[in-house]
Symmetry: D2
Subunit: 285 residues, 4 copies
């Protein structure tokens, strides 16, 4: 689709033709099925995370998301339960047989987060934190690299290249909206970048419509749209009591909305002859 | 979804609960089916437009798009066949039983374009050309209002309000991408605005992935995504010889790509229990 | 500063080395002095425009700005006094020996506005209204082309090229801020484009810090900055009662702020060995 | 200028009326004079940094800038001399009696950079690296916080609030351009934010027109403009051989351009009855 010489190599389709598949203990990402990652914005307390986790397990969700260390715009906002949050999330996930994805904010935290998470997430504010990317290039667990809020596709792929060139090829990309002048939505979800990424790179692409729009009412249609745009999965925020969430309540799905999402995504995946990962009890990989 | 008092009225769901349905002689827009509007960026000559029109008619496409007066960034670029282009497009559409949509660039041209078109399009550069909007508020034919390339949703709805408040309620909105820092795609197609528009307004919403991405290879997935985002239709550019097109060749579909689009959109519409308008031989309204 | 072949010609320094100087009856723009254009956002009534005009004349301001036809985002906002406003502004300017600049919104209004104005302004929403640009290319009065709110420099120069290529070389450019994610200011005033424009084009460049920032408190420093960035002039909004203005009151200077502006701009211009146009009683050209 | 309750406190004018003055051993920032910070994008070798430093010392420049750890978009680009670069810069600065500012990219590097630098810079990609901000809140040396490339003023001030609320009030802000659709300049230098920042906050504000524009030819006018916009200082890139620089050569000033800058900034500062810090042999604080 592009003829000029690309500045990235290891992440490109030219380098590796076949899709990268990231295997987890209970599922895989990028292998032809649609991954559905879900959980609260932040782990708030034991009751909350176990309640949500139990609910998700009924839908057979394979991967639990949740923030323990939270990058917050204000120093006076809730900053997460930190290590306690990691432990709670790990325990909840283990009880229900799920994998854990959570954000790592700093090189100093890589070791700690590595201990509790199955996938380490780099947040939008850290997409170009190159020391962190280098540290993550030396681990043997998968990394989800969220797009910087004003990053071009090329910068994003070059950030991924930092991880691959350091030795870790278990990288997935996550589109989570970019910053524009439009303020009716929290960010502008750039679904057009998804098929373009799939064309130029072999890495799995996940879409986060919760961050990408900031409005729970449009998370379901945007999730469906993401799948047909070619995403390998969707990551959404869900909460047992969104109106009392300590962060991002406006964009968190109610339980019944999540159930509706699952039903609709199953129908949507069929258009492409795919299934949701939660449609299988067994390891898909 | 929003609590604060809105500055627009006639375009809002509060003013009118039911969806606006725009009836044409051979189909309708906004009435529950998915409209597929197609044609070349610009009418170039008799052979081109009749060839394309004949092709589209085989797929039972109801609405032909094409530019006769072309707003071009450079004064030295092809500016369209003007009135000759209008006549050619009208003749081709009439031969194959299709409706015509084409752009009107100026108040002075409203009368002329009205004579040949079934839907008058306001282009992105003219979304806030208020004299033109007022002139179009006095006609009895439908208007497609494309989003300004840096317009907020509120400004867009207020532009539509100009037309409705002047007396013409046959208005449809067209998302065609906004301008951001990302240059891998021509524009950033803002699909997130589609479900939000459908929530706050009763007007039909069309998505133009050709303008919105500028890359023919991603027009098909983005069209499918648009339908699941909630769009009432999709408008795409198609050309018999894209590589020789006088304008926007890179984003024009080849005929076989268009056929693939139709097949995939039919499957996609089913997810929402909808049909494409071209699936019916009869007037749908 | 740029090596690649430019898509514009007549507006370029390659085409014409010397600066374009636009002569008015009482001053000139682009001739080495700094033009100070001032007046209300909109003409509201006879008392208002004459009061402001009398005030400005005491500072020897040469060019009166004011809106008669106002492009407003909402159809329910004050739309200007239209022809009555043009007449009032002309009369006020004539009484005090000033030139008039005002916006022309549509091809149908060119003849009328031409009759009353000395400079015809194309607003930001119409920068790519090519029919209007063509109409203005056929008149013998100067045109001020405001930058589109999301236009690149190249698009802006190509819009100017429309006017020059049609036969009118009396064109000046006006930077008025672009649209970004930053909302602490109304727009982001792009002063960096000023020296670049002066390098690649021979056309005069005016800066509008009132529109560009939306905050009267920072209009004075931004005007000074504009002059040292290389602007040929500054256009500001001033009102006798900003808090009661029918439009854009927040960005209109109080009279004492305007006097402060004049004092500071005189000092600023000296840094570049220039003078304000209002420092001369005579025609400068 | 704003009435609504602000989310930041310690950085605000309401909290502290008088300007914050940051004292260094040989000068001060924010104390009424204009600071001129200069040096290469990156330290490349001993000869380069000593040559540049000797040149700058002839102009009595007080603060040397230079990168040792370089955040580069591509992992394959020159990443800086790291600790060797820090040592070279420290030695060069000590020889010529200058202070050193350089970037710290990670919490793990704070201790090392602290040892060699007088001011620790947080780069645009790390503005919201909250772990790094917290680490810097615990040191007793000044911090320059560059604006994130897509940060709002509020987010920027909240990032500064992280540092102040942790105990370090020696913070200066640096505007270095934001990301927009305009690509004629590398970034869009947002000078309008400068007077607004000075109004709402007591922190010193520095402008970086080298990063902000990417074009050396417009660095001089934009530096002058920055001073009249209200900046407390300007930081520019200068190189003995820009065309052979290992990074950012296009935006680095030639020596004679730097001399011209000094001459013009002296004249500019006089407009505001200020002096450049390099006009004094003695400690200004």
């Amino acid at each position: 689709m592009e003829n000029k010489r690309k500045p990235y190599q290891l992440v490109s389709r030219e380098w590796k033709k076949e899709n990268t598949i990231i295997k987890l203990k209970n599922t895989s990402i990028g292998g032809g099925n649609i991954s559905l990652i879900a959980g609260p914005c932040a782990v708030e307390n034991e009751d909350q995370i176990f309640t949500i986790c139990e609910f998700l397990s009924k839908q057979n969700v394979k991967i639990l998301r949740g923030g323990a260390y939270k990058p917050r715009t204000s120093p006076y906002s809730f900053q997460g339960l930190k290590k306690d949050g990691l432990i709670l999330m790990r325990n909840a996930a283990d009880k229900y047989g799920m994998s854990v994805i959570t954000e790592v904010m700093d090189t100093n935290l890589v070791e700690e987060v590595y201990q509790y998470a199955d996938i380490l997430q780099v947040g939008t504010r850290n997409m170009q934190n190159y020391q962190l990317l280098r540290a993550l290039s030396k681990i043997d667990k998968p990394v989800m690299l969220k797009r910087g809020m004003s990053s071009t596709m090329e910068e994003w792929l070059l950030a991924a290249e930092y991880i691959l060139s350091g030795g870790n090829d278990k990288v997935m990309l996550c589109e989570r909206g970019i910053r524009t002048f439009e303020n009716a939505t929290r960010n502008t979800l750039d679904l057009g970048i998804v098929p373009l990424l799939k064309s130029v790179s072999h890495l799995p692409v996940i879409v986060d419509p919760s961050q990408g729009t900031g409005l729970r009412e449009i998370v379901v249609p945007m999730s469906m749209a993401a799948v047909l745009a070619g995403a390998d999965g969707v990551m959404v925020e869900v909460h047992n009591q969104p109106e009392e969430a300590l962060s991002d309540g406006d964009q968190s799905l109610y339980f019944d909305q999540f159930n509706d999402l699952v039903t609709k995504l199953k129908r949507t995946a069929k258009v492409l002859d795919k299934n949701l990962d939660l449609e299988s009890e067994k390891i898909l990989a």
